[in-house]
């Protein structure tokens, strides 16, 4: 990762910027939503590999900063939501696409299924992913 950041620095102009945008493991919130209400039904379970990936990425960008390659200019956090028609669709997605990183505990599955079944006709299931976006200024001699 650190080598990649040095490569990116090489191909950027002296006034160039690097945008780092990525999800952060943070026990993402599970919700059942409709036009009328939002019901929080639990959080996903983070697996160690995802947490380790976040730590490795953070270490790499800190190392690049300490090496004098980039200077952080601005950082923000925001939510990126995924939503599905049914709890079953969300469960299938997590089991097939994110099985290495997160899981749903049985209690959260049951709470989500119940809230959805008892919810409004337009009820959907939503996952709120925590996102980081940071702008780094490249540092190099002109």
């Amino acid at each position: 990762m650190v080598h990649a950041l040095n490569e990116i620095r090489r191909v950027l102009i002296p006034d160039g910027i690097l945008i780092d945008i990525r999800p952060l493991m943070d026990r993402w919130q599970v919700e059942v939503t409709s036009m009328r209400e939002i019901r929080q039904t639990g959080r996903v379970q983070d697996f160690p590999v995802g947490l380790a990936d976040d730590e490795a990425a953070n270490r790499a960008i800190v190392q690049a900063s300490e090496n004098g390659w980039f200077s952080r200019d601005r950082q923000e956090f925001f939510s990126y939501s995924y939503s599905w028609d049914t709890p079953a669709e969300m469960e299938e997605w997590i089991d097939t696409e994110w099985e290495d990183f997160v899981a749903l505990e049985e209690e959260t599955k049951q709470a989500t299924r119940s809230a959805w079944a008892l919810g409004d006709a337009d009820a959907r299931v939503r996952l709120q992913v925590k996102m980081l976006i940071a702008r780094w200024n490249v540092l190099k001699d002109r």
Binding site: G16, I17, L18, I19, D20, I21, I61, F78, S81
Partner: protein, 98 residues
């Protein structure tokens, strides 16, 4: 399966808050199928998306609008060995890839 991603467009809003892509040469690292690329590519002068997933790159090329053919390019490459000369780009975007 019906899935909606970021219907509030928070990602695009924050991206444009932190970067002005107008007339810039942009390198997107980890572009995948181009989901993020399409949120700014029309404004940029040139966008090059790289990824090691060639299947995803094929999807990105198929999805590329005809008016972007000459200003959005995709190529298979790893971020550790970028096949570009020094100081080629104004902006680099690490797209969910650090």
């Amino acid at each position: 399966m019906t899935i909606q991603n970021d219907p509030e467009r928070n990602e695009s809003k924050h991206l444009h808050t932190l970067a002005d892509f107008r007339n810039k040469r942009v390198l997107e690292v980890g572009c995948g199928e181009g989901r993020l690329t399409w949120q700014y590519a029309k404004e940029a002068q040139l966008t090059v998306g790289i990824d090691t997933d060639t299947d995803a790159l094929r999807v990105a090329e198929v999805d590329r609008a005809s008016d972007l053919e000459h200003k959005v390019l995709f190529t298979a490459a790893a971020s550790e060995y970028l096949p570009f000369s020094k100081e080629t780009f104004d902006i680099a975007v690490l797209a969910w890839s650090l």
